[in-house]
């Protein structure tokens, strides 16, 4: 049994799994479009924690930074597009509840 572990990588990895699982659970339960966006953002933060953990273990700080910068840019674009979509839906339906988006039902 391997009992050696690093507290810093342990904190990052446990944080990643805790945040990702909580965000997925929240994404499944929440009905508000903007709440779903928050859950998606939190999931991205969890992935950032995993990248930090991998970079810390691997020791390649610079490569990890490039990945984190890329994920931050994508996170920002996703946030802006999702907010635009939510506001557009709110203007048309007067609601943020995704259960009201049923006009495409066959």
């Amino acid at each position: 049994m391997n009992m050696t572990f690093d507290p810093m990588s342990l904190a990052l990895f446990a944080g990643f799994l805790a945040v990702l699982s909580a965000a997925i659970f929240s994404l499944l339960k929440v009905r508000n479009m903007l709440g779903m966006l928050i859950a998606t953002e939190v999931m991205t933060k969890g992935v950032t924690l995993l990248l930090l953990c991998a970079g810390y273990i691997n020791g390649s700080i610079e490569l990890t930074q490039t990945f984190i910068v890329t994920i931050i840019v994508i996170e920002a674009v996703v946030a802006v597009v999702a907010v635009g979509l939510a506001v557009s839906v709110y203007r048309n339906t007067g609601s943020l509840d995704i259960r009201n988006l049923n006009k495409l039902n066959g």
Binding site: M1, A11, G55, G59
Partner: protein
């Protein structure tokens, strides 16, 4: 003496990670979008502190300026464009959202057990690649050019999407 300083640094690091995780879970549990956006911004600040402690200075600056700045502004703008009643009406049941920290603690404990008992993570530095390390600028511009192209495409797609989505429709 040096061991004590190292222990203190490690404690500060673990506390920063724990605080970031707590703030992220708090963001998930808020019914009001404004409070969730503020919690998310605080979590981004803590994450940038973690990055700074790992000597990832460029990533820390990006996290602080984009995630704690730009995305927070976008979320607060969305909050002001929608009514508070509608945010409350579409929110999940409080009893359901009370399960979020339980899920997080359970999975975090599972991950900690996997790391401590089974040793699923290799030791720090054990996978380090030899050779001279590149600077952030060289790594980004010389070795990750596809990433830059992808970022440009994503930003342009986002800009076009915003133009189309925020366009005022024809009033009948």
């Amino acid at each position: 003496m040096f061991e004590m300083i190292e222990m203190v640094e490690m404690g500060i690091f673990c506390a920063s990670v724990a605080l970031a995780v707590v703030l992220l879970i708090a963001a998930l549990m808020q019914r009001r979008l404004m409070r969730a956006a503020i919690a998310l911004a605080a979590a981004s600040v803590m994450l940038s502190l973690v990055m700074y402690q790992l000597e990832m200075f460029w990533a820390a600056v990006f996290e602080l300026s984009v995630c704690a700045g730009l995305i927070t502004v976008v979320l607060i703008s969305a909050s002001s464009l929608t009514s508070r009643e509608e945010q409350d009406a579409a929110a999940a049941e409080p009893s359901t959202m009370g399960l979020v920290p339980l899920v997080a603690v359970g999975m975090g404990a599972l991950a900690a057990a996997a790391v401590v008992v089974a040793g699923v993570l290799p030791e720090a530095g054990s996978l380090a690649v030899g050779g001279a390390s590149q600077s952030f600028r060289d790594t980004l511009w010389l070795f990750r050019q596809a990433d830059i192209l992808g970022q440009l495409i994503a930003v342009l797609a986002g800009a076009f999407a915003v133009v189309i989505l925020f366009k005022e429709g024809d009033k009948q």
